[in-house]
Symmetry: C2
């Protein structure tokens, strides 16, 4: 890769993905490995980087985002306050001493009750997903274990909110009574039933979750539909709450952009449609794109 | 126990408790064993009963309630529809063939969306907790892994709602990211902070749960306060939703009665006080009392 100008790394909890970018920000090579920070023994991050990338091209800077910048990562990069634009993020890169590795800070925001929320890695995806000609404000949804709803504008990331949807699904499916009657399978109507149940005005998650059991006990829900129903309940609770949150920020929730894993985004798109929210799918290489943009703003490339 | 007239058994998922009752319904002996239905091998319920009770007094009937009547129990007793009074419950006892063991049916109710809810064992505690001179309707709360809020009157159990508060707490504490930063300890102010956060108007559980992490990350919450904060969030979500539910049933939520384990009831009482709900503690032997009353209605004692 003689024309590599930046090695961009999306380095999370369970996996790491590296992109070789040329002078136009185009991806010329890409590697993925299960070298997330939880998998690294004795904090040997330098060794993990060598395994992920092989020999590094001389003089080319590296820029990483995600949990690699957390307390459990290579070096802790402090959270940057929201609102935050490209300039603010780019001015706050942390360099790992003795390396060419720069790390993007995570973001922190506070809601109207002064309760903090945080992200690490998603801020970079958001910067990658922003269209060049964005005017006004818009809502962006990043589905995942902890899904994030963010409000962005041409001046950057205004604020965001986290929903533990994916993790709640996993722990309830694996470890609670709700997983007991489950049979493998998918059932779109069960997903929609769960969604609509959580979207009703008097929804109450810790009560409604129990209906995944009672509807199965009474034969209304087939064993193969239970997981989709559970997923629908949790997605519906997220969407209902996010809609209120957007309204508090004077943003209509008729349309959002989705950024992230293609399959999960498609699932969110159909769920959002049930709530009459129109969703467009963003770029799938948002992290690489975001890292490139931040690197340019920071001027770390020759 | 020469004057034993009934052996009453509260037989749940993890444990079983037997009471020897005399002609006045007074407890003359009591035994407890970890012989819940999940602990019984090869469905040897008769063997478990012998281990729990020893030699049975000749001619004395037995009456059991709880998960022993579920599909995974000794014999499945169908759910009885709500509203249900003593008479209806007593008329629906199921006898285990070849034994003197009678089993109380569970209850099923349906909310205004026709979504079912179920209980097994709590109906008996409710019948045991009802004062003899009850007039009008009142709310009773039975804390537990799956806590139940019920509306009762002198004509029986009108309806009820389940909240997965205890199970959500356990799975999130043991299996989610929220358990990672936890240190042992108790912190009453963290409990109250969690409660108040979930009692606010725009509370959203799957979002608010993440604050147990962000408040810890930012040092607002000490590691020893995280579990109480999490418990407060979940209790607050239950109380907020139950208050709406009571209002839908035209019942003021200024006062409730608590029935169940003394320590857990005390925790609920202080939580309810934060929400300005006055709670009185019910009898601690509600199951034995309820089984005695049902047995009398059913006329199974000589």
């Amino acid at each position: 890769m003689p024309d590599t100008r930046l090695i961009a790394i999306d380095w999370g909890t369970t996996s790491a993905r590296a992109y070789w970018l040329d002078g136009g920000g185009r991806i010329v090579d890409e590697r993925n490995a299960p070298l997330g920070i939880q998998k690294i023994i004795d904090r040997d991050f330098a060794g993990a980087l060598a395994r992920l990338c092989g020999e590094l091209p001389s003089g080319v800077p590296l820029l990483a985002c995600g949990m690699i910048g957390s307390r459990q990562g290579w070096i802790e990069t402090p959270y940057r306050d929201c609102p935050a634009g490209f300039g603010a993020i780019a001015a706050m890169l942390t360099v790992v001493p003795g390396t060419r590795v720069h790390i993007v800070p995570g973001l922190i925001c506070r809601d109207r009750n002064r309760v903090p929320d945080v992200m690490r890695g998603e801020e970079t995806q958001l910067f990658g997903a922003l269209p060049d000609d964005l005017r006004g404000r818009r809502a962006v949804v990043l589905p995942g274990t902890h899904s994030k709803w963010a409000i962005v504008s041409d001046s950057g990331i205004e604020t965001f909110a986290t929903f533990m949807t994916g993790e709640l699904y996993a722990v309830l499916r694996e470890h609670s009574i709700l997983g007991r009657l489950v049979a493998p399978g998918h059932d779109a109507s069960a997903l929609e039933r769960g969604l609509r149940h959580s979207l009703r005005e008097d929804a109450a998650l810790s009560h409604d979750l129990f209906s995944a059991r009672t509807l199965a006990l009474t034969g209304v829900l087939a064993p193969a539909g239970i997981t989709d129903y559970l997923s629908g309940l949790l997605l519906g609770a997220e969407i209902a709450a996010a809609r209120v949150w957007l309204a508090q920020h004077q943003l209509a929730s008729a349309a959002v952009a989705l950024v992230g894993d293609a399959m999960l985004s498609e699932r969110y798109r159909s769920a959002l449609a049930v709530a009459a929210i129109d969703a467009t799918l963003g770029p799938t290489d948002a992290a690489a794109r975001g890292l490139w943009r931040i690197a340019k703003h920071a001027g770390i490339m020759k």
